[in-house]
């Protein structure tokens, strides 16, 4: 420890089992998403094209698809994934909470790729996975005890989840979809990796086959694929309007 520093002050970088991380990045198991993305170096830096591999809650990036070791990794806990206003087309951001926290601006090579990445990244956190597992655990217990038939009301988590505390809503001057649209996992609305179940909150009336935190209207009865297409069209139209009405910086 350098002289002159107060006791307990460590200036060494945090250790991490990087070699194991590199093996996890390149092991044979199927990945959750992979592809080329442009990554902005810093606030005023250029974009670099990198090969990205999403595995679990870790987003690795390589020099190219044949590289054996990642250049780096973005740990995806406690972040939100948003569309952004950027010079680059098909841009989106992975934003972390906190005063000096980093925002990673990434750009895909097509609309479809961008949507795929935003969807995949917003569901990548361990926290999200754990929530879903807990839900299913309870559902399985309920069906096994003969609580009901196929159309089960969604039980809320009974025990408080040791999830990350919900990050305060960032109020960025970024374009967001009109608030009339409910945030949907399948549409292009803003996704969040925050816990969607808030322990202790008021349970909504439990109609079958609904997400507890996002009650939908009568359209919910339509087949899922048709719903998805409906919202998709609406969103494409809105996006077109928004793009043409944007003032260039």
């Amino acid at each position: 420890m350098a002289p002159g520093f107060p006791p307990g002050f460590s200036i060494a970088a945090m250790k991490l089992n990087e070699r194991s991380l590199a093996f996890y990045a390149t092991c044979d198991a199927p990945v959750d998403n992979a592809g080329f993305l442009y990554k902005k170096g810093g606030r005023h830096a250029a974009y670099h094209r990198r090969w990205f591999v999403l595995r679990g809650n870790m987003l690795f990036y390589f020099e190219d698809a044949a590289s054996r070791e990642p250049v780096g990794v973005i740990i995806l806990e406690g972040c939100t994934v948003e569309l952004v206003e950027a010079a680059e087309e098909f841009a989106f951001a992975v934003r972390f909470a906190g005063t000096r926290a980093r925002t990673y601006v990434l750009a895909a090579e097509s609309q479809a790729a961008m949507e795929g990445w935003v969807k995949a990244l917003s569901r990548a956190s361990f926290d999200y996975l754990r929530l879903v597992v807990r839900e299913l655990e309870q559902q399985l217990a309920a069906v096994r005890s003969g609580a009901g038939g196929p159309a089960l009301p969604l039980p809320l988590p009974l025990s408080p989840t040791p999830a990350l505390p919900s990050t305060p809503a960032l109020a960025p001057p970024l374009p967001r979809w009109p608030s009339a649209l409910p945030p949907k996992e399948n549409g292009c609305a803003v996704w969040s990796t925050e816990a969607t179940f808030r322990p202790g909150s008021e349970p909504p009336p439990p109609p079958p086959r609904r997400r507890a935190s996002a009650p939908h209207g009568p359209l919910d009865l339509a087949p899922f694929a048709r719903l998805h297409e409906c919202y998709g069209q609406e969103i494409r139209a809105l996006r077109g309007q928004w793009l043409s009405s944007r003032v260039q910086p």
Partner: protein, 149 residues
């Protein structure tokens, strides 16, 4: 390898699944046992000097192996180098057992397998896919093909 250290530090301050003061010995030859505050948060094991707020280090708990060593002691190693072990000394057998069980279940990959298991079980009993209500039934990460051999 670059990584978002600040965010990892922030993660280390989140509520932990488990936390305790344990004896810890690094994998290098000749490492000495040190008292560390060890904290399990999602799939990371953080370890702190007992009087510091920032972690000395973190272990990502994917593809790891948790092994019983001497009584009250376990080790964590990784599949690609099983002899390179991080040793942890507990204050009792019970504590050792508790930690070993928690660490074996701590990985994302384990959680993913649990999800797939519950999904299939519910499907068997009800005939319905429980992930449809979340709108995530087609997600690559929740398919059976995602399971390692």
């Amino acid at each position: 390898m670059r990584y978002n250290e600040k965010e990892l530090q922030a993660l280390s301050r989140q509520p932990a699944e488990m936390a305790a003061e344990l004896g810890m010995r690094g994998p290098k030859k000749g490492s000495v046992l040190k008292r560390r505050l060890v904290k399990l948060v999602v799939n990371f094991l953080f370890y702190f000097r007992t009087d510091e707020a920032e972690p000395v280090g973190a272990l990502l708990l994917e593809r790891c192996r948790v092994t019983r060593e001497e009584p009250g002691t376990f080790s964590i190693s990784f599949i690609e180098d099983p002899e390179r072990k991080y040793h942890f000394e507990c204050s009792s057998e019970e504590q050792c057992q508790e930690w070993m069980e928690a660490l074996r279940r701590a990985s994302y990959e384990f959680m993913r397998r649990s999800l797939i298991f519950y999904r299939n079980e519910i499907r068997k009993v009800t005939g319905k896919d429980p992930l449809e209500q979340f709108g995530i039934s087609e997600e690559a990460r929740f398919q059976l093909s995602g399971l390692q051999a």
